[in-house]
């Protein structure tokens, strides 16, 4: 049985289309990433799967239970971590954890095995109110609370947003460990680098899934040569390259511009030479998942 099955889900809020024909499945023990910018509809999808919202059209099954008809059985077996920190700020770490364990008719001790790795990191602060924790610790606590009843499926809505890079890395290591325990995880993130850590990702924008594949396959499917270009005045360079008629796409990417071309590289060289950019560097680069995402986004924008 596939733990998460989503079939042709549509959802609108008034005239705004939040989700349009979303379908995907998550396999047993899979870490599935929903990658997309803010406002892409990721949270709406999570809420539909967590039985908090009703889809306008389409079906979804979690552990084989329909999220509309059997919502009670779904609620018993999912661990849901909303996008916003949603624990009791005036309760301490230990109180929050015990509270959520109890309302799921279990105890912290019973499932301590599952949360031990994570809990041990925040245990030194267990008497501190949740509201006074740092962003990373809050998310670790929230993950503990979502895990404490040993869910069969884990929904994590942007768990690393607003978290420092070190904590983000730790957080993803925890997810890998959870995955190795056989819990399927659906996780969303706006960070492209995190997409590479998933088994499979769905790139989502404006409520539509653009592509579903393994991160490696998505990168491999990027058919063009990417050129990394740098100069002293990046802003001018960006404007100039975008004005070049042989340019297919050009995006800022860290300290370089990632450029794909319809012509070959020497044409770009020739075009840039008279514009007198200082310290101009042009070199081939490995495409990343972000390049693919940008490419797909561009295509989607062109078609709509």
């Amino acid at each position: 049985m596939q733990p998460i099955v989503v079939q042709h889900i549509h959802k609108s809020f008034g005239s705004v289309k939040a989700l349009h024909d979303i379908s995907f499945t998550v396999e047993e023990g899979e870490l599935f990433g929903l990658i997309g910018p803010d406002g892409a509809g990721k949270s709406t999808l999570f809420r539909i799967l967590a039985t908090l919202l009703l889809a306008d059209k389409g079906n979804a099954y979690v552990n084989g239970s329909d999220v509309v008809k059997d919502y009670r059985s779904v609620r018993r077996h999912v661990g849901y971590m909303p996008g916003r920190f949603s624990l009791y700020q005036d309760l301490t770490i230990a109180e929050n954890l015990n509270f959520f364990a109890t309302i799921f008719s279990t105890s912290v001790e019973e499932n301590y095995e599952l949360i031990r790795d994570i809990y041990e990191q925040i245990a030194p602060f267990k008497d501190r109110p949740a509201g006074k924790l740092s962003g990373g610790m809050k998310q670790k606590l929230a993950l503990c609370c979502a895990l404490v009843h040993k869910p069969r499926v884990l929904f994590l809505d942007e768990p690393t947003t607003g978290v420092d890079p070190v904590s983000r890395q730790e957080f993803w290591e925890m997810l890998k460990r959870l995955k190795s325990k056989g819990i399927p995880i659906l996780v969303s993130t706006p960070y492209m680098d995190e997409a590479m850590l998933c088994d499979k990702v769905a790139l989502i924008q404006k409520g539509e899934i653009m592509q579903i594949n393994t991160p490696a396959a998505i990168v491999a499917g990027f058919g063009r040569q990417v050129w990394a270009v740098r100069a002293k005045n990046m802003y001018h360079l960006l404007k100039d390259i975008r004005a070049f008629e042989g340019t297919h796409s050009c995006f800022a990417f860290g300290e370089f511009l990632h450029v794909t071309l319809d012509t070959d590289e020497s044409a770009l060289q020739k075009y840039l030479r008279p514009l007198q950019h200082e310290d101009l560097v042009i070199r081939p680069a490995q495409p990343g998942i972000e390049d693919s995402f940008m490419q797909l986004m561009l295509e989607q924008n062109e078609t709509t």
Partner: protein
């Protein structure tokens, strides 16, 4: 059951860790009782008057001392001419001027008729009327003493007894009113705020995605407030009895049961409010405008309902506060039992069930 107890315990943590909540819960009753008991009162006590005594004889001075001896009036100043009356009022302290004409005593005994003028500041009509009534009564009494009982051929003798509140203490009216106000505030406003707070902080989202039944969530949030509102009722009754010697003539048990009933009515209103709003701010505004104002204005607490236009009298029936004040007055002051208060009790119970049914129907087990 364990889930429920843990939920209630969590609710108590919220209450006792939030200083503001605690202040509203326990500071407010004390402040309101003291305020209404001592400061805000419509009783006449040492009203400032001025005297323009043109007679300056023994009779006039005895009249003035009679007025002040009553305790209702205090002579602020003596005026020397009619022209000083206006400025005296303008200054604002003087509520009443007694103008005694020349030869007051002489006229009384010889002409058998002595005029006396009372001038009042009627910018506050109620006070003005009350003051002239009091002054008139004192003057009449003085006249009888001076002239002896006049034997009229036919007389109607009125015998007045102030039943249930012989010393006419305003506080006897205010304690039930404040009690109603506070129970409404604590139960309705606090519950609506505490439930909407869960929505605002997003914790409701997690509670909903848990095996907890909606009914259990609501009950868990409300039960602590039932207990608190009961404790607050006891606090107010104790203050009423201890500080203002407010009697409880009827059964104390019945009174407390009625307090719990009204607490439940207010709680059900609070739940209802929380089902229709998503923010604490709105919940607070609705409780303030929709519940507190009518509780103060349309319940007979401050302004007598009988003198209101019929339309308002009809509207006042839909506010639980009106019925609770009737019950409180009946039990506390008149010693009424269940036979006397069964109707308002029934109405309150009906309202509670209605509000609860409506909130359960409105409560969403999803976000929208």
């Amino acid at each position: 059951m364990r889930q429920f107890l843990v939920f209630v315990r969590k609710e108590f943590y919220h209450i006792f860790r939030d200083k503001r909540t605690l202040l509203i819960l326990f500071g407010m009753p004390v402040v309101l009782i003291v305020l209404f008991g001592f400061a805000i009162t419509n009783e006449i006590h040492k009203a400032q008057i001025a005297v323009l005594d043109n007679a300056r004889d023994a009779f006039s001075s005895r009249l003035v001392s009679r007025l002040t001896a009553s305790g209702y009036f205090e002579v602020n100043r003596y005026l020397s001419s009619r022209a000083e009356v206006e400025p005296a009022f303008r200054e604002g302290d003087i509520k009443l001027v007694v103008v005694i004409p020349e030869k007051f005593g002489h006229n009384f005994h010889h002409a058998k008729k002595a005029p006396l003028q009372l001038i009042t500041d009627s910018s506050d009509p109620n006070t003005a009327t009350t003051l002239t009534n009091y002054a008139n009564a004192i003057v009449m009494q003085y006249q009888e003493e001076m002239g002896g009982k006049m034997e009229l051929p036919l007389t109607i003798q009125t015998a007045v007894r102030m039943e249930y509140n012989p010393s006419l203490k305003g506080v006897f009216l205010f304690v039930p009113g404040v009690m109603t106000l506070i129970l409404m505030l604590v139960s309705a406003m606090m519950t609506s705020i505490t439930i909407t707070r869960e929505k605002e902080l997003g914790t409701m989202e997690i509670l909903l995605v848990s095996p907890l039944r909606p009914l259990l969530i609501i009950a868990g949030k409300v039960v602590p407030y039932i207990g608190l509102s009961f404790i607050i009722s006891l606090l107010i009754l104790a203050m009423g009895a201890g500080v203002f010697a407010m009697p409880v003539k009827g059964s104390l048990v019945l009174l407390l049961l009625e307090c719990i009933l009204f607490g439940l009515t207010a709680l059900s209103l609070g739940i209802l409010i929380s089902t229709i709003t998503n923010s604490q701010q709105t919940a607070m505004m609705i409780s303030m405008m929709g519940l507190l104002l009518p509780t103060i204005l349309l319940s007979g607490f401050v302004f007598p309902l009988e003198s209101m236009p019929v339309a308002l009298q009809v509207i006042s029936n839909i506010f639980p506060a009106k019925w609770f004040i009737i019950i409180l007055k009946s039990i506390m002051l008149k010693g009424g039992g269940l036979q006397q208060v069964w109707l308002p009790t029934l109405i309150l119970s009906g309202m509670t069930l209605f509000f609860l049914a409506l909130s359960i129907r409105n409560f969403k087990s999803r976000l929208s």
